[in-house]
């Protein structure tokens, strides 16, 4: 499990530059990111090396921020690796809200960040099925 920082951004020139600059100036490293957007606004989702500090810094800079629990799943870095995991999640009826890839890897595995509807259930099923995922501290240290 891991903490993702989500930031509300208006669809306006310079906003993404500003938020990444604020994080950069605070010495925070972005490890994974994705943006969901509409014509009016976007939601920037990031995994950083120090989520609590990032949360604090961003609030001080007047951003609307939230912390969300996500799972960093280790996906075999070979053809069909992700498909196999998604098929198993489907069999378990685990609803995925969204997912995105992590920059970098864990050994021979790729990392994919999943936001699921029921995170406890996902965790239990993954353990049962032997799907590997990273614990919080291991993820931030990568």
């Amino acid at each position: 499990m891991a903490k993702q920082i989500s930031i509300f951004l208006e669809n306006k020139a310079g906003r993404l530059a500003h938020v990444t600059r604020v994080l950069g100036d605070a010495g925070i490293n972005i490890r994974a990111l994705s943006i969901a957007d509409t014509s009016d606004f976007g939601i920037l989702r990031v995994i950083v090396n120090d989520p609590d500090k990032a949360y604090r810094i961003l609030r001080e800079a007047e951003f609307t921020v939230s912390e969300t629990e996500v799972i960093a799943v280790q996906v075999p870095d070979s053809p069909g690796g992700l498909a196999s995991i998604l098929e198993q999640m489907s069999e378990e009826n685990l609803n995925i809200e969204y997912l995105y890839a992590f920059i970098g890897s864990s050994g021979s595995d790729a990392l994919v960040i999943f936001k699921v509807e029921d995170i406890e259930k996902a965790r239990d099923s993954f353990k049962e099925r032997g799907i590997k995922f990273l614990e919080e501290q291991d993820l931030y240290r990568l």
């Binding site: 993702q4 989500s6 509300f8 951004l9 208006e10 306006k12 906003r15 969901a36 957007d37 509409t38 009016d40 606004f41 939601i43 989702r45 007047e62 951003f63 609307t64 921020v65 939230s66 969300t68 809200e97 969204y98 936001k115």
Partner: protein
């Protein structure tokens, strides 16, 4: 020069003022006798009907405000038995209590006179075909314009608002000579005509009578040059009677107030003091002939100036300058009155929403557009797009139904709403009117 009621419109001022004083005394007597809330206000100031002996004594009477209308909704200010009421109209706003207008048969007749007079002043005759494109219904514009045009003896086309393509067809097929609508809609209809590839020469339109929203001299020029018509301003409001309180004449140098039906004063909006002749200030109107719902010193919140010099058109009735400003923060958008406080109370009813918002008004393709920017607080923020879209949808629905106009809602970052001295700037009006 055509006049509808030569005797009243050209009445020498001395005689007109005598008529006003007589009617004012009657009105004050009536409200003091029949309307408890007027009597209470007058008693509070220690003024009796017999204290009104000349027009200048008007200043001793208490003001009436929009709040009085709300507090007395719906029948509290009624000065006749309900059985004498033949019509009920009301303001377009649907949040809180609407502003009501009640009419006796005589009131309806006088109102039609005012509009027939206004239409004549704007060049209409009984040979005219008049398309009334103000909304029919509770709004005073549609039925007010309709009765006036009928009184005039013109042929009325009760088109009501909307369906612009049909408006163009009606105007074309029936040889419409006068259009009554909001000034911005006059331009929208023109654009539609261009879009349909029709030729202006196929239309018989000669003039338009435009009101229900503020518009500038520049807008007049634009309407006149595009349409090749004369564009006349008509002024009024639900609280007073509806449209027809004042109207341009052919000289378009101020709107003649129907002074046999109303008295106008100009006050300092901050102190309430009556200002010297010719000063700019807030227009205060007293009705002289209204039976059902008389208004004594109603604070219109509209800013203007009164000119009592005789006009070149021959009319003796005082003129008010085109109204461009307000002494409060009310916005008029497509004929609908919007107060920021209405937006605020609607937002407060939505769970989790903090009333940090900004209203942006723009005129695009001649139609006013209201954008409501709402700050996304952590209470309502979600990492999922669909949640935020649901929120946007909820706010839009609540505002649309609460304000009675379609608004565009935009979710914004907390830092984007400008604050000065801790207070957010609520309105950005980009219309340049």
């Amino acid at each position: 020069m055509n006049y509808w009621d030569r005797e009243k419109e050209l009445m020498p001022r001395e005689e007109l003022e005598k008529l006003q004083l007589r009617r004012l005394k009657e009105t004050v007597n009536r409200v003091y006798t029949f309307v408890p809330s007027y009597r209470a206000k007058m008693d509070e100031l220690g003024v009796k009907p017999q204290d009104i002996n000349c027009l200048a004594d008007l200043k001793y009477l208490p003001f009436l405000t929009k709040k009085d209308f709300r507090d007395n909704y719906p029948f509290g200010l009624l000065a006749v038995p309900m059985r004498d009421v033949v019509r009920i109209q009301s303001s377009s706003g649907t949040t809180g209590k609407p502003t009501v207008a009640l009419y006796t048969k005589n009131d309806i007749d006088n109102w039609a006179e005012m509009i027939a007079r206004a239409m004549t002043s704007a060049g209409a005759t009984r040979d005219s075909v008049i398309q009334v494109t103000w909304g029919y219904g509770l709004f005073t514009g549609g039925l007010g314009g309709h009765y006036g045009a009928e009184k005039l003896g013109a042929a009325v086309l009760p088109a009501s608002g909307g369906n612009t393509k049909r408006q163009v067809t009606l105007m074309h097929d029936y040889g419409v000579t006068m259009l009554g609508c909001t000034p911005s809609y006059a331009l929208v209809i023109y654009e539609e005509l261009m879009k349909l590839g029709m030729d202006r020469s196929e239309f018989k339109l000669k003039s338009g009578i435009f009101g229900a929203e503020p518009w500038s001299e520049n807008m007049r020029k634009e309407i006149e040059s595009k349409w090749e018509i004369d564009a006349y301003d008509i002024y009024g409001m639900t609280e007073l009677v509806g449209p027809g309180v004042a109207v341009d004449c052919a000289y378009k140098n101020g709107l003649h107030l129907a002074e046999d039906h109303f008295i106008a004063e100009i006050i300092d909006p901050d102190t309430g003091e009556v200002l010297p002749e010719g000063s700019h200030g807030e227009l205060v109107i007293t009705s002289l002939t209204k039976e059902a719902y008389p208004v004594i010193r109603y604070r219109t919140r509209d800013l203007t100036r009164i000119n009592r010099e005789q006009c070149d058109c021959g009319r003796t009735h005082a003129r008010i300058e085109k109204i461009l400003g307000r002494s409060d923060d009310m916005l008029i958008i497509r004929g609908v009155n919007v107060f920021p406080s209405m937006v605020e109370s609607i937002l407060l009813q939505i769970p989790g929403i903090e009333p940090v918002y900004q209203l942006i008004v723009e005129r695009r393709n001649n139609l006013d557009r209201l954008e409501v920017q709402v700050e996304v607080s952590e209470n309502v923020f979600s990492d999922e797009v669909k949640r935020l879209e649901e929120l946007e949808g909820t706010i839009t629905r609540e505002l649309n139904s609460g304000l009675g106009i379609a608004v565009k809602v935009r979710l914004v970052e907390p830092s984007s709403i400008e604050r000065s001295e801790g207070k957010a700037k609520r309105i950005i009006d980009k219309r340049n009117i």
